[in-house]
């Protein structure tokens, strides 16, 4: 059974990964021989300088999902490379590093620093974090997306994946801009902007006022976007948004995803990514499918 997938020149043993910001401390809590079975890991987004993140509360449960406004808390790229990257490399699983610059220049600096590091398979450009004090995200503007992808592609020794926002009128326009600018893949979706109010105190529940909605609640939205994008562009899609189990993941693959990431559901069931992988294999076996590429985009729609 062939499960391996490619993004640009990077090869991943299978299509199952974890979404940025939803998986960590594997070295302490996980059986690494199990983590190693995944197709890739995508760690929390790293920025050029350390960020302390947003004031708490940062998360709240919502119906079948959650809001988060972490604010990309991270130690900055230098500390990341020095301290975390080697822990991750020890797991011996392909790594897709998610980066976010607050300017084109910062994206380039991040890329250059990672060019010098070892054990990285691809870059994911987070163009879509809704929890920073920006009015317009890069991924809400096709020109900005195009320009940034082009610049990073010129510099990067790794395949480059653009992570897109669902908070747009037509995500296919942005995806096409990324593809035409040379991206090797796109990741979708990041979170939908949302809010909750505590009626007792009359205050927003989140310290940041608004946050990003994720989890099973948004899965139908994510699936539609993956389906629409897959109709329009040829580069591989890393799909995420509410995936809890193999059936969910298969829906995304049938809609056209090359890889699938478990995000929020890691918090509910840390075993979910492996369950997804096993479930995909079981489905392929039952349906006598030899190669995952036969499933990719196989939805039968008029």
């Amino acid at each position: 059974m062939n499960l391996s997938v490619k993004i640009g020149t990077a090869v991943f043993p299978n299509p199952v990964t974890v979404a940025s910001g939803t998986f960590g401390h594997a070295e302490k809590y996980y059986r690494l021989e199990e983590v190693k079975k995944l197709g890739a890991l995508i760690p929390k987004t790293v920025t050029l300088h350390a960020q302390e993140g947003n004031p708490p509360p940062r998360i709240v449960e919502t119906p079948a999902g959650m809001l988060n406004a972490i604010g990309i808390e991270n130690p900055g790229i230098d500390v990341f490379i020095r301290q975390k990257l080697s822990l991750l490399q020890n797991i011996n699983v392909p790594l897709i590093i998610s980066i976010l610059g607050h300017s084109d220049d910062q994206f380039l600096k991040l890329t250059e620093k990672l060019n010098k590091a070892e054990g990285v398979q691809a870059l994911e450009l987070n163009l879509s974090c809704p929890n920073l004090q920006k009015k317009v995200l890069v991924a809400q503007d096709p020109r900005a997306t195009s320009r940034l992808v082009q610049k990073v592609k010129k510099v990067s020794r790794y395949p480059v994946v653009a992570k897109l926002s669902p908070n747009v009128t037509d995500i296919t326009v942005i995806a096409r801009a990324a593809a035409e600018a040379g991206a090797d893949g796109v990741s979708l979706i990041n979170t939908l902007t949302g809010m909750q109010i505590d009626t007792k105190s009359r205050r927003p529940v989140l310290g940041n006022i608004t946050g990003g909605l994720s989890g099973p609640a948004i899965r139908p939205v994510a699936l539609n976007m993956v389906y629409q994008v897959a109709q329009r562009i040829k580069i591989p899609i890393i799909a995420m948004g509410g995936i809890m189990n193999a059936d969910d993941a298969l829906q995304f693959i049938m809609a056209g995803a090359a890889m699938v990431a478990v995000g929020t559901f890691n918090f509910v069931n840390p075993r979910a990514p492996l369950d997804v992988l096993q479930g995909i294999k079981a489905y392929m076996k039952k349906q006598k499918i030899q190669d995952i590429h036969q499933l990719c985009g196989s939805v039968i729609a008029p």
Binding site: R58, T62, A64, E73, P270
Partner: protein
């Protein structure tokens, strides 16, 4: 995939006072690995409602793993409906733990507000062989929040109770019991767990008298594993995750 994700069987789940339940899990080898102050993260039922797991301090870890909990919402409501033989998906033990007091300590003061008492029984189990005087100051809202403190007494604790309505112990907040604390920075250490305003009062008191101490904090949690950075709390050295960097922090570190 997880070293620490297991399904455990409920051995018993009983009301110990009008407000609190005591749940015992057949913890397999888990109890040996638990230190006082650590918590378990429980999926109260399959499905998406409630969505997150629910964190509970370990109340005791001998052969079984026990928690003491207050029914405050949907998650704890569902938990209270569990009976012998039911199975629960548990992550744990998680978080850091109380630092054991040095040998020179002569009074260990545990200051608990309401259900914040939970981590102190296992702590008193660990303190059994310690020579210090062990004092539990317990503040509850009403008599309905007061349960049988014999296990603490058996562990050698002096137990003092205050309730806001005077239904049990003395009437008033737990701060009315602070007189039981020896104000010697060299030989007294404070551990506290409870509502923020109470812990803030303990912090003030400890600061004033230069008493060292630790506090166990709460925040809403998603992963419980330090992965999501969602449970961060403000400390004087920046945001810290309650689930991974905590739940136990230096008493003066926390910005209540």
């Amino acid at each position: 995939m997880h070293k620490i994700q297991q399904t455990y069987t409920v051995l018993s789940n009983k009301k110990v006072c009008p407000r609190y339940y005591h749940l015992s899990l057949d913890g397999g080898k888990l109890p040996q690995n638990i230190y006082p102050g650590q918590f378990v993260h429980i999926r109260v039922r399959e499905g998406l409602e409630p969505f997150f797991r629910r964190p509970f301090s370990v109340f005791r870890a001998r052969k079984t793993v026990d928690i003491l909990y207050d029914v405050v919402g949907q998650g704890t409501e569902i938990l209270s409906s569990k009976g012998k033989g039911d199975r629960l998906d548990v992550l744990g033990p998680l978080g850091n733990h109380f630092a054991l007091p040095d040998k020179n300590i002569r009074q260990v003061v545990m200051i608990a507000g309401g259900i914040g008492v939970a981590p102190f029984l296992i702590f008193s189990d660990y303190l059994k062989s310690h020579k210090a005087e062990k004092t539990l100051l317990y503040g509850g809202r009403t008599k309905a929040h007061v349960f049988d403190f014999k296990p603490f007494v058996r562990n050698g604790c002096d137990v003092h109770v205050a309730t806001e309505d005077g239904g049990a112990g003395i009437k008033g907040r737990v701060s009315r019991l602070f007189s039981k604390i020896r104000k010697d920075p060299e030989s007294t250490v404070i551990y506290t767990c409870g509502p923020k305003p109470m812990m803030a009062a303990v912090q003030d008191f400890a600061r004033k008298h230069r008493l060292p101490g630790q506090a166990s904090c709460e925040e809403v949690m998603a992963c419980g594993l330090g992965a999501c950075l969602g449970c961060s709390t403000k400390t004087h050295s920046g945001y810290k995750t309650v689930c991974y960097d905590g739940p136990v922090f230096d008493l003066q570190e926390i910005c209540f």
